[in-house]
C-alpha cells in the first residue's frame, strides 16, 4: 500500500519540529533563527505595547502642573529619607563586617545599573516572564540579574538586539541561592509559578529559621550578587514524615506592578580598582612588554 502524501508531509514536519526543539534546547540563546526573528517580533511587541504607552503619555499630558509639583515634593522628601536610611545601612554593614558576605555586599553599591522599561506584553498565562526594552545593544547578557527598588526580580533568559526577557524568581524553573539575614544560614529558594509564593528548600527540622526572617541573595553560583533582598519567610510547617521543613516565602520585589526594572552588572566578583596597585601593575606590564 502506498503512503498518502499527507502522511509523508506530516512525518516530515514532525521530525523537523523535534529537530528544532533539540537545536533550541542545546544551542539556547544563540540560535540563528531567534536572532533573525527578533527583527519581526520587535514591531509585534511594540504594537501590543502601544495602547498602554499612549494612555501613559496622555495621562502625563493632562496631569496638571500642581499635581506634578506635588509629586516632585513628595519624591524629594522620599529621596532624603532614603539617603538617611542608606547611611544608616552602610554604618550597620560596616559594624557587622565580621560576616564575609556583608563585607562583599558593601561593594554592591558600586554595581553598574541601567534602568529598563517593562513592555506591557504578556508571554504566558502566569506572566512569569517580562519583556524589557533593553537588549544586546545595551550590553545586556544572558543570566544578568534584574532587580527593582525592593529586591531581586529575576534573570535575563532570552536576548535579542533591542529587547530581553526576564524570567522571574517565582517561575517554577528558577532557584535562587539565599542566606538568612539574621544568621547567614544558607538556603535555596525555588519558584512555584505563583507571583506571591516561593519555596525554601532543604532545611532540616533543626534549622534556625523563623517566620519573618529576611532572605538575601548569597552570591553562591555567581549569578546574583550577594546582599540583595530576595524574600521574607511567610510560613513554616513541619511534617513528621518529611525530613525537611516546608517553608514558604514571599518575594520582596514587586513582581506584578511597576513600569521599570533595573539591570545590574555585578562588580563584586571583580577586583575593586586601587590606584596604587594599578600604577604598579601598569609599570610591570610596561617593562615586561606584555599585555595586561
Amino acid at each position: 500500500m502506498r503512503i498518502k502524501p499527507i502522511v509523508g508531509q506530516f512525518i516530515f514536519l514532525l521530525v523537523l519540529s523535534v529537530g528544532l526543539m533539540f537545536l533550541d534546547q542545546f544551542f539556547h540563546g544563540r540560535n540563528w533563527l531567534k536572532n533573525t526573528f527578533s527583527s519581526i517580533s520587535k514591531p509585534v511587541y511594540r504594537l501590543v505595547d502601544f495602547p498602554s504607552q499612549t494612555s501613559d503619555w496622555l495621562i502625563d499630558w493632562f496631569n496638571d502642573r500642581r499635581e506634578l509639583t506635588q509629586s516632585l515634593e513628595q519624591l524629594e522628601l522620599e529621596n532624603a529619607i532614603l539617603k538617611v536610611k542608606l547611611q544608616r545601612l552602610q554604618a550597620e554593614i560596616r559594624s557587622q563586617n565580621k560576616l564575609q558576605s556583608f563585607m562583599r555586599s558593601t561593594q554592591n553599591i558600586a554595581d553598574e545599573i541601567l534602568a529598563a522599561d517593562i513592555l506591557n506584553v504578556n508571554l504566558e498565562r502566569h506572566a512569569q516572564r517580562i519583556i524589557l526594552n533593553k537588549g544586546q545593544s545595551d550590553n545586556v547578557y544572558l543570566g544578568q540579574p534584574v532587580v527593582d527598588d525592593f529586591g531581586i526580580v529575576g534573570q535575563i533568559t532570552d536576548l535579542s538586539v533591542a529587547h530581553s526577557i526576564v524570567t522571574l524568581i517565582t517561575d517554577a524553573s528558577q532557584s535562587t541561592p539565599v542566606m538568612v539575614k539574621r544568621n547567614g544560614l544558607r538556603a535555596l529558594v525555588n519558584g512555584t509559578g505563583h507571583l506571591e509564593k516561593l519555596d525554601v528548600k532543604y532545611q532540616g527540622a533543626e534549622a534556625d529559621i523563623k517566620v519573618g526572617d529576611h532572605l538575601l541573595s548569597s552570591g553562591i553560583g555567581y549569578r546574583f550578587p550577594p546582599g540583595y533582598p530576595v524574600a521574607v519567610v511567610d510560613d513554616i510547617q513541619s511534617d513528621n514524615n518529611e525530613s525537611f521543613l516546608q517553608i514558604t516565602a514571599r518575594p520582596l520585589a514587586q513582581l506584578n506592578h511597576g513600569k521599570q526594572l533595573l539591570l545590574i552588572w555585578p562588580k563584586t566578583l571583580q577586583r575593586t580598582p586601587n590606584p596604587h596597585v594599578d600604577s604598579v601593575l601598569e609599570s610591570i606590564s610596561m617593562t615586561d612588554g606584555a599585555n595586561p
Partner: protein, 166 residues
C-alpha cells in the same frame, strides 16, 4: 454554506483571525482571568481546519506554530508540532464526512486542547523539570466556554467575506 457549486472563498478572514489570535496571546490580562485564558491560536486553527479544510495545509499550521514559538520566546518547535498534529488529525481522520453536529466538533476541540496541554506539561517536565500545575486545567474550561462565541464570530466574518466577494 453552499456546497453545490464551489467557489474559492477569500483568505483574508483566515489570516486576519490568526494575526489577532497571535496578538491576543501577548495582551496583558488580570491574573484571575489569565488562568482561564485559552490558547486562541489553537482554537482558530481548529475552526479553519474543520470548516475550511481545503484552504488549510499542514505546512501552514507548522509555520504558524513556529511564529508563535518565536514571538512568545518558547522552545522553538513546540507549538509547530502541536498544530501540525492537530491539523493532520482533522484532515486525515475527521473531515471526510461533513455531516457532523456542532457538539461533535466541540468534543474534538476538547480533545485537541487537552492534547496541547498534555504536550506542554510533558515538555515542561522533561526539559525544565517543572511539575504540572492544576491551574492548567482551567484553560480547558476557558476553551470550552469561548468556543461557541468564537465559532459564531468566525462564521459571521466568513459569511460577510463571501458576501463582499460576490
Amino acid at each position: 454554506m453552499n456546497s453545490q457549486h464551489y467557489v474559492p472563498q477569500p483568505g483574508w478572514p483566515i489570516h486576519l483571525s490568526l494575526v489577532l489570535a497571535l496578538l491576543s496571546g501577548l495582551l496583558p490580562v488580570k491574573e484571575s482571568i489569565a488562568e482561564f485564558m485559552p490558547n486562541l491560536v489553537l482554537l482558530v486553527i481548529v475552526y479553519w481546519a474543520l470548516y475550511r479544510p481545503e484552504s488549510v495545509g499542514l505546512g501552514w499550521a507548522w509555520l504558524i506554530g513556529l511564529v508563535q514559538d518565536l514571538i512568545m520566546a518558547n522552545l522553538i518547535g513546540h507549538h509547530a508540532l502541536v498544530y501540525v498534529t492537530v491539523v493532520f488529525l482533522i484532515k486525515y481522520a475527521l473531515v471526510k464526512n461533513k455531516n457532523y453536529a456542532f457538539f461533535d466538533y466541540m468534543s474534538w476541540l476538547i480533545a485537541f486542547v487537552i492534547l496541547d496541554l498534555l504536550f506542554a506539561i510533558v515538555l515542561n517536565w522533561s526539559v525544565q523539570q517543572i511539575s504540572p500545575q492544576w491551574s492548567l486545567v482551567y484553560s480547558v474550561l476557558g476553551s470550552i466556554l469561548i468556543w461557541p462565541w468564537l465559532y459564531a464570530l468566525l462564521s459571521i466574518v466568513e459569511a460577510l467575506a463571501a458576501q463582499i466577494q460576490n
